[in-house]
């Protein structure tokens, strides 16, 4: 490495190795926004997995309960389908031996049977095996090709066997029940049939339709405290947070066996009055002042070289550093003052939602008392907002157009309760209810992760329409 090269490397390394300029203020915002988008994508993926697993579990439980609740019949019935057909020809010396599977194994026992004692005998049974052989003295392999059914010893695959006698006059079915004998010099067609068991689920209970109506009182909580914003009023969710929600509902309930589906309409109202103080910080960076500073730097003069004691090929420069103070530059010093402030706010808010719940459930009867549970989705619409929000500087009138919530959102609904009959037609019921947002409820982007959970009790009456 020559002297110039070393000087260039040293010069740049010395000046730029710790060079650390500020990249500018907006870059963090861009990074933060991209990280938010990535987090959102991950959360969305996790939510999809969670909901898919949950749905699969619900469906599995529903199928299990459905099968359990039904009477199963038809397991002894058989659907008969023809699986295969074999043609055999019985010559003058040939015999046909039929034996039960139990007596068929091991194979040599069949071979050793006297063709006379078993000749022309066929037994019909579910476990029948049929053996046909052209000559008792021939090999086992030959026999196998005549009727593979016999050779494989797997006759249990076939539920019944039918044999047809083909003569010049036509085709005649041989009746096994009468132990029909096979005639020499005749052709037969052996049809083997396979059984397929089938199931019929019969509901133990009749189909019913009920109309139900009721009212409930619930409480709201949120999964996190939203940040406060000057742009839009929001419900206070600092813990403890228990905002009352009243709701009224009507449902149509379709019952099949122990299962039911519900479709309905509910109207709910959120109320809240707040008065609280929010600390906030302002930063004053206006103004500033100029100052002059000396330009200070080092220079390095190479005054000689020395070889690396461990590697003589490497040459190091011997430098003589010189400190310089030679120019004067102006520096602008920004002013930076932090001010702590407190903002007092007041708000009175009421939000009215209409929700269409769709749910499926299961009801178990213990005597007269019915115990039920259901899960479903609710599609909610914000139809009315009233109130105000004031923070001393700003005053917002909360209207149907100006409010913090989205026009629509979706909820997961879980209900569990008991019902009791009041005569033939009427029932009374009480249920615990839980509802949580599964889509964003706030309009503001920074509040998109806030979820409201509502839980409480609902009471109502149902009427058997059918």
């Amino acid at each position: 490495m020559n002297k110039d090269n070393q000087y260039i490397d040293h010069l740049f390394e010395q000046e730029l190795m710790d060079f650390a300029p500020e990249p500018g203020g907006d870059l963090w915002k861009a990074i933060s926004a991209k990280l938010d988008a990535k987090d959102m994508a991950i959360r969305r993926r996790k939510a999809i997995i969670r909901w898919t697993s949950f749905s699969a579990a619900v469906v599995a439980v529903a199928i299990f309960l459905f099968v359990r609740s039904c009477s199963v019949s038809g397991t002894d019935s058989l659907h008969i389908v023809k699986k295969r057909t074999e043609r055999i020809h019985v010559g003058s010396e040939n015999v046909v031996i039929a034996a039960r599977k139990s007596s068929f194994s091991p194979q040599p026992s069949i071979e050793n049977q006297s063709p006379v004692s078993n000749s022309n005998t066929i037994v019909k049974d579910k476990n029948i095996v049929v053996s046909a052989r052209s000559n008792p003295s021939r090999s086992k392999a030959k026999k196998s090709t005549d009727l593979p059914l016999n050779a494989q010893g797997e006759s249990s695959d076939f539920s019944s066997i039918e044999m047809l006698n083909r003569t010049a006059a036509g085709q005649q079915r041989i009746d096994f029940s009468r132990f029909a004998a096979l005639q020499p010099n005749a052709s037969y067609e052996v049809r083997m049939f396979e059984s397929i068991p089938y199931f019929i689920f019969k509901s133990q209970k009749s189909i019913g339709i009920q109309a139900e109506a009721g009212a409930g009182l619930m409480f709201l909580s949120a999964n996190s405290s939203p940040v406060f914003s000057d742009e839009m009023p929001i419900i206070k969710t600092a813990q403890p947070f228990n905002s009352p929600v009243s709701d009224f509902f009507v449902n149509l309930k379709f019952q099949y066996s122990h299962f039911y589906g519900k479709l309905g309409l509910s109207v709910s109202q959120y109320y809240q009055k707040n008065s609280y103080s929010i600390p906030y910080t302002t930063m004053d960076t206006s103004g500033g002042y100029a100052s002059f500073d000396l330009n200070k730097y080092w220079t390095y003069d190479t005054v000689g070289y020395f070889h690396d004691p461990y590697d003589p090929d490497i040459l190091y420069p011997i430098v003589n550093p010189t400190y310089h103070i030679d120019t004067v530059g102006m520096v602008w010093n920004s002013k930076f003052v932090e001010n702590q402030n407190i903002k007092n706010t007041k708000s009175s808010q009421a939000y009215h939602f209409v929700e269409i719940p769709i749910s499926i459930g299961y009801q178990h009867q213990i005597g007269k008392v019915g115990i039920f549970g259901d899960v479903g989705l609710g599609f909610a619409f914000l139809y009315k907002s009233t109130g105000f929000y004031s923070d001393g500087l700003n005053y917002f009138e909360i209207t149907s157009e100006i409010n913090p919530f989205r026009k629509t959102h979706a909820n997961l609904i879980l209900n569990a309760g008991i019902s009791y009959p009041l005569g033939n037609k009427w029932n009374i019921f009480a249920q615990g209810s839980y509802r949580t947002n599964i889509s964003a409820i706030y309009q503001l982007e920074q509040l998109k992760d806030v979820r409201f959970n509502a839980y409480g009790l609902r009471f109502g009456l149902s009427y058997n329409l059918k």
């Binding site: 110039d4 090269n5 000087y7 260039i8 490397d9 010069l11 740049f12 390394e13 000046e15 730029l16 190795m17 710790d18 060079f19 650390a20 300029p21 500020e22 990249p23 500018g24 870059l27 963090w28 861009a30 990074i31 933060s32 991209k34 990280l35 990535k38 987090d39 330009n295 730097y297 220079t299 003069d301 190479t302 310089h324």
Partner: protein, 188 residues
């Protein structure tokens, strides 16, 4: 710079305020690296942004082997190199030999050791280096990579790495001398 374990743990849990603090601490150093590997500030900011997103999304990949700052620097350098790969779809020795020898003839009239330059001028000189020269010079001088490592990382031969480093030095020398001449002419 002292390693703030608590801040690292908070970043690991995805706390945005902690990530911002970490960014404010390390962004200037990392930006300095990005500026050396790119041709202008806009490109450097793009690389820095991408590098910090990689750092925050893969922060659990830091195993405590070596310094945290060193780990971050490696990500920034790799991101800078990836950015270079993207702009040059195909890296080959030929790309590195595209610069004509006449462009980097050494001007014998001036002696560089007699001249003085500030950081901005020297950064400008590096940014003016043709792609390829810039990467090799940075990797050799600042990151202390050996020619064999540079050759592997840039998919070039060791000899190409050596010759391009030599050309980069000559190019820088000439650029600095030209800048000095321009300054003198402005003063007149």
């Amino acid at each position: 710079m002292t390693f703030d374990y608590e801040l690292y743990q908070r970043c690991l849990s995805g706390e945005r305020a902690a990530q911002e603090k970490l960014y404010k601490i390390y962004a200037p150093i990392m930006y300095g690296i990005c500026l050396r590997y790119t041709k202008d500030q806009d490109e450097a900011k793009d690389v820095l942004q991408e590098a910090f997103i990689k750092i925050f999304t893969n922060i659990d990949g830091f195993r405590g082997e070596g310094s945290f700052e060193g780990w971050m620097k490696r990500i920034v350098i790799n991101t800078s190199l990836n950015n270079y790969y993207k702009s040059k779809k195909e890296i080959s020795d030929k790309n590195f030999d595209d610069i004509r020898e006449t462009d980097i003839q050494h001007d014998e009239e001036d002696n560089l050791e007699e001249l003085r330059f500030n950081k901005t001028e020297m950064l400008e000189a590096i940014q003016k280096l043709p792609d390829g020269y810039k990467q090799i010079f940075n990797m050799y001088v600042f990151e202390k990579y050996k020619h064999r490592e540079i050759a592997e990382l840039l998919n070039i031969s060791v000899n190409t790495s050596k010759s391009q480093l030599s050309k980069a030095r000559t190019y820088l020398q000439k650029t600095l001398i030209r800048m000095e001449k321009a300054k003198k002419q402005q003063k007149r």
